[in-house]
């Protein structure tokens, strides 16, 4: 069966993920409504505002069905806001979430926008060459469960993780031309 990757397009940088997938020659479609999910085999949750996306997921009746699909094994990748939405625990927040990733996240962990930064980040699963990582008002994972593999960290805190079919990064590969993280995610779908 031909695979099709959905990009959650409720709010945020969904266009950049669509572009990244197009660069890799992968069929992709924007997901705005629950029905759009029927046609996709995997999902990317983009960066954006996690509280906004969470509310729109609830308003659209998508939160529970999405959680069921992910729990049943659908590959999902969340960047920044997407990572927050995937986490089970969010420090100091009751905001809506999918809660499928066994981890605790701290939002805006590096500070405000003036503290945002770019850095070269070692991520061995992608090879020896570091990734150019863009952190914008970014979160970090302050703790992760035993079933979660840490793929990259900054100051000893996880900023990229995998738990079976779930991939999450604090940073935004979609803002760069390095496609390795998207390629790595696509290996989950075969």
């Amino acid at each position: 069966m031909a695979r099709c990757v959905g990009v959650l397009a409720l709010q945020g940088a969904f266009r950049e993920h669509m572009t990244a997938l197009a660069r890799l020659g992968v069929a992709a479609r924007e997901v705005r409504k629950l029905q759009d999910m029927d046609a996709v085999d995997a999902l990317i949750i983009p960066g954006g505002e996690s509280t906004t996306i969470g509310k729109l997921l609830i308003d659209g009746g998508m939160l529970d069905p999405l959680r069921k699909r992910i729990t049943a094994g659908m590959p999902v990748y969340g960047s920044c806001a997407g990572l927050i939405l995937l986490c089970r625990n969010i420090e100091d927040s009751e905001q809506p979430r999918l809660g499928v990733l066994d981890a605790t996240v701290r939002r805006n962990a590096f500070g405000r926008q003036v503290d945002s930064f770019e850095t070269e980040l070692s991520m061995p699963v992608l090879g020896v060459e570091p990734v150019s990582a863009v952190f914008i008002r970014a979160p970090v994972l302050t703790s992760v469960g035993d079933n979660v593999t840490v793929l990259a960290q900054i100051n000893g805190q996880a900023v990229a993780v995998r738990q079976d079919n779930v991939l999450a990064t604090s940073f935004h590969p979609e803002l760069t031309t390095d496609s390795r993280i998207h390629s790595y995610f696509l290996t989950f779908t075969v």
Binding site: L10, L56, C80, Q113, F117, E118
Partner: protein, 293 residues
């Protein structure tokens, strides 16, 4: 590690896309905006409709108000500085505001020069009425653009005019033969290299939001259809009868702007919209959109 790069500045604007940025004047309003799904708030002392009514010189908000709003919400907080007032901008940057709007809603502080925004770590958004104005602001370092519209009127016609104007000029610029581009740049008053960036991308090199007169979910959805990446709503929410409900409706309208059945549902029972102003009744000298150069 690098900070304050153009990628970080334009990147935050990319994250705001498909969202609604709401004007708020108190922590209570900021909470309502966040709960309604705003992707950011603009912290102000007065919304544009009240600035218009009050007259006199409008300046940067009291830092106490901005700080209280920053402490109240987890979403990005923007604040306005006067056109050309680089010290107001430095103060807002020092406070840790996430985005600065160099805004015609406030009284300009310099009648010739906008702020040199390249030199700041904090990113800036600026208003425009046409492509030349947008590209001059981008050349000065703006990492996000919005239409000027006519703030505080609840009348979308000027935002529509400015958006159509920008889009029309982008199409013209992209269709020109190479030999005619330098003259286009000259006539638009825009730097050639930014014109070339537009031709390469087929669009503005930064995110472009609608602003200035959006009052209903249908207004917001129309601006998305015209090619805007998101919307600012100033007076339209907290000058209406039921701000929480209208705010949530506008957030949904920006996401589902192509789904008219959904828009019909979203637009129901929102209470009184803000009272609008016919643009022709505003004397030319009092139109905020004329501010900026």
């Amino acid at each position: 590690m690098e900070q304050g790069t153009i990628r970080l500045k334009t990147g935050l604007a990319e994250m705001l896309k498909g969202g609604v940025i709401m004007d708020v004047t108190t922590p209570e309003q900021a909470k309502i905006a966040e709960a309604a799904g705003a992707c950011a708030v603009m912290a102000l002392e007065r919304v544009p409709a009240d600035i218009r009514a009050a007259g006199g010189v409008a300046r940067m908000a009291d830092p106490t108000i901005v700080k209280k709003i920053m402490d109240t919400v987890s979403i990005p907080v923007m604040a306005k500085a006067r056109i050309g007032h680089f010290v107001e901008a430095r103060i807002l940057e020092a406070m840790g505001v996430d985005y600065i709007d160099e805004s015609e809603v406030l009284t300009p502080a310099d009648d010739k020069y906008h702020i040199d925004k390249r030199d700041f770590t904090v990113p800036f958004v600026c208003g425009c009425r046409n492509l030349g104005e947008a590209l001059r602001r981008i050349a000065e370092g703006a990492a996000m653009i919005r239409t000027k519209g006519e703030p505080g009127t609840g009348n979308v016609v000027e935002a529509v005019r400015h958006c159509r104007q920008v889009m029309d000029e982008i199409r013209q610029l992209c269709a020109l033969p190479d030999a005619e581009v330098p003259n286009f740049a000259k006539e638009a008053g825009a730097p050639l290299e930014v014109c070339l960036a537009v031709r390469k991308e087929g669009r503005l090199p930064v995110v472009n939001f609608a602003a200035g007169g959006i009052a209903t979910p249908a207004d917001a959805a129309m601006m998305m259809h015209l090619g805007c990446d998101g919307v600012f709503v100033g007076s339209g929410i907290f000058k209406s009868g039921d701000p929480a409900k209208r705010a949530k409706a506008i957030v949904q309208a920006v996401t589902h702007y192509k789904d008219y059945t959904m828009l019909a549902e979203i637009s129901r029972d929102l209470g009184e919209a803000m009272v609008g102003i016919d643009i022709s009744t505003i004397p030319a000298g009092e139109r905020m959109q004329e501010r900026g150069w």
